[in-house]
């Protein structure tokens, strides 16, 4: 048992505990915070495996941006969570039983033979003699260009779908259009009307 292995299991255990916490705590804000913990621990695990770029990206993107957004959303929503949780205790024994069964199955399957030697397989980045970041960058834009582009299309679809499902053009809402304001001409604003001068006699009639 060397130090890395102890750390690996400690972090792995912590991550699992945090993930269980996410789905079992009552308070949604706590759940989001535990999810942050889970992501962060995953980043630590990656760091341990020598993938420092991915670890930092995970912290920056998920912990820094996505999860903060989650927190905002959760705090803004006023969801009555108690009724949703009412059946939780009632179904807990069954759920635990099934979960334990599945865990046992997986353990039985995984520990049969030969998973450990895969973990220790040579790091491809080390083999080529470049830093991990450089290796990830090269792999992403050469070997994995096709999935990378597909993922880009998926993001495009996501934004198109989000806009088409939420954008509304309301009728009768007063709003400013700066372009039209700048383009305005004198004749649009003021209309000179020629009127004959009034005289006292006309007022009488």
């Amino acid at each position: 048992m060397n130090y890395e292995l102890v750390l690996f299991y400690a972090l792995g255990g912590l991550m699992l505990a945090a993930a269980v916490g996410v789905i079992s705590v009552r308070n949604p804000v706590h759940a989001v915070l535990l999810l942050v913990l889970a992501f962060f621990t995953a980043a630590c695990l990656w760091l341990l495996a020598g993938a420092e770029f991915l670890a930092v990206a995970l912290v920056l993107v998920y912990v820094g941006a996505v999860m903060v957004l989650f927190l905002f959303v959760v705090m803004m929503l006023d969801v009555r969570i108690e009724p949703l949780r009412a059946g939780f205790i009632r179904y807990l024994p069954l759920g635990l039983f099934v979960a334990a069964l599945m865990a046992l199955e997986m353990l039985a399957v995984v520990t049969v033979k030969g998973v450990g030697d895969r973990v220790a397989e040579a790091d491809p980045a080390l083999a080529t003699g470049v830093s991990n970041t450089e290796w990830v960058g090269r792999a992403l834009f050469t070997d994995y260009l096709y999935p990378f582009e597909l993922a880009g299309v998926i993001l495009t679809v996501a934004i198109v779908a989000a806009i088409v499902l939420t954008l509304r053009r309301r009728e009768g809402v007063r709003k400013q259009d700066p372009a039209r304001q700048v383009m305005v001409r004198r004749t649009d604003r003021i209309r000179l009307v020629k009127m004959p001068a009034e005289t006292a006699r006309e007022e009488k009639g």
């Binding site: 995984v110 070997d143 260009l145 096709y146 597909l150 993922a151 679809v157 198109v160 779908a161 499902l165």
Partner: protein, 482 residues
């Protein structure tokens, strides 16, 4: 490193669809709603161009083109299925136009999302790598979720989209979990390498099996097979009919391709393990779907449940694991998607402003009101039920022959019995259309757009033409999978 190192020239059809999608997305902003026909025309042009490029370099059976280190495969199956996908997408555009316009849903984004889903399906049919499978699947699924919710002010649509989204996300999760198991077992994402690792025993067989189970769950969800079918009726009924037409036909082609790539391309050494699972799912689908379909009063729901009958047939064809089995499953998939597109297309065409032709009651006496449409619908229903001179008959025979060839006689008997049960509810529609008096209420006449009429006629008459075409189609499929 030049672009040919990636084999980009093999991806020309995909690139055309992607560029068409981007151009439409931008161009549509400047097209006034009254001239949306331009978008429609350009979308069809994109499809035609992609089809041209696919057919120009059609890969004959046995010829395999690889790009991006085997992540993208181009062979006879992918080219054949893509051609079918272009035609079906074109049918979706043609049928859907009038329907969407009448409901204020005719927007440029419809074309963009459908083309994006098409791109996802094309990626799936050509996938040689687990990453490509997953991303193609997600691209198809995400576009479909958005399309189902397209009528965003209709509560039923939103409900269907939420159900589809939540269950679809779950299925994606299962699938991803299975993929991670395969990766853990074999150390590779490449399907050919996974197969090699499974063959020479370097991968842990237990892990491979665990992954296979989860992959099959994902495949069954995309097909809408029995234990994973719960989303199907609500999504079919809840989405606008033009979208149901899309969701109910094309993804089955992609699901077939995905099943073939994963099960045969990656996991064929585990045939003895996954065959019973597929057969169990197929039998459950055949029995459950059929029986519930008998009790439906909504045509879209009925077609959703009857989808399970056909998926059952496709799955037992796949489960035989032989060349003949895959070939017959492909023929059946093509038959079913074309027939389903025709059936949903008829629903779309018969619908009018403020009237959805989706209750079975609405078809009462259709032969008096619209004889030609009733005739076409009769062809489609009889073909789906599997009546002799029609496409569905030959497709079913091929599947049964494949299953018997793999010495699974009892499965063949089981499938045959439920095919007969299925004939009942299809024939009920025919009876309602031809032998019953029209309903009292006034039902608007179907749309009279000649293009729509032509497309629908071709779509339904294919069921008859199959009498002459099924031989060459089978020969092509057999050559593809041998």
């Amino acid at each position: 490193m030049n672009e040919f190192a990636f084999g980009l020239s093999l991806l020309l059809p995909e690139l055309v669809v992607l560029s068409g999608l981007c151009v439409l997305l931008l161009l549509d902003l400047w097209i006034s709603p009254s001239r949306r026909g331009i978008t429609h025309f350009l979308a069809l042009l994109t499809l035609a161009f992609a089809a041209l490029l696919t057919l120009r370099e059609f890969h004959v059976p046995g010829e395999v083109g690889k790009a991006f280190g085997g992540m993208f495969l181009r062979d006879a199956m992918s080219d054949g299925l893509k051609t079918a996908l272009y035609l079906l997408t074109g049918a979706v555009f043609v049928y859907g136009r009038g329907y969407l316009a009448e409901r204020g849903l005719w927007k440029g984004e419809f074309y963009v999302l459908v083309l994006a889903a098409l791109l996802g399906m094309m990626a799936l049919t050509s996938a040689g790598n687990l990453l490509a499978v997953y991303l193609g699947l997600e691209l198809m699924a995400l576009s479909s979720y958005a399309l189902v919710a397209f009528d965003r002010d209709a509560p039923k649509s939103s409900e269907a989209a939420i159900k589809y989204f939540v269950l679809g996300a779950l299925a994606s999760g299962l699938m991803l979990y299975g993929m991670s198991m395969l990766y853990g077992a074999s150390g590779s994402l490449d399907l050919a390498s996974i197969r090699q690792a499974a063959l020479d025993g370097s991968a842990s067989p237990e892990l491979l099996r665990l992954g296979t189970v989860f992959l099959i769950a994902g495949i069954a969800f995309k097909f809408g097979a029995a234990p994973f079918h719960t989303w199907l009726p609500d999504v079919y009924q809840g989405s606008p009919s033009a979208i149901t037409l899309f969701v109910g036909s094309l993804p089955k082609v992609a699901a077939f391709a995905m099943a073939y790539r994963l099960l045969e391309g990656g996991l064929s050494p585990l045939l003895e393990f996954w065959r019973p699972i597929l057969i169990a799912i197929a039998m459950l689908s055949l029995s459950l779907g059929n029986v519930v379909a008998l009790a439906q009063s909504n045509l879209k729901r009925m077609l959703a449940y009857s989808n399970m009958l056909h998926v059952g047939f496709i799955l037992i064809g796949l489960s035989s694991g032989t060349t003949y089995g895959y070939a017959s499953a492909m023929v059946y998939t093509l038959f079913y998607t074309v027939a389903a597109a025709g059936a949903f297309g008829t629903i779309v065409v018969l619908s009018a402003r403020g009237f959805e032709a989706e209750r079975i009651e609405d078809y009462r006496g259709l032969a008096r009101r619209a004889p030609w449409h009733a005739f076409l619908m009769m062809l489609l229903m009889a073909s789906l039920a599997g009546f002799p001179p029609l496409f569905g008959f030959f497709a079913k025979i091929l599947i049964l022959k494949a299953v018997i060839g793999a010495e699974l006689i009892e499965v063949a008997v089981f499938a045959l019995i439920f095919a007969v049960v299925g004939a009942f509810y299809y024939l009920r529609i025919v009876k309602l259309m031809f032998f019953d008096e029209p309903a009292e209420e006034r039902i608007p006449a179907p749309a009279a757009d000649p293009a729509v009429r032509f497309a629908l006629s071709v779509n339904a008459l294919i069921q008859l033409l199959a009498l002459f075409a099924w031989g060459p189609l089978l020969a092509f499929s057999l050559a593809t999978f041998s």
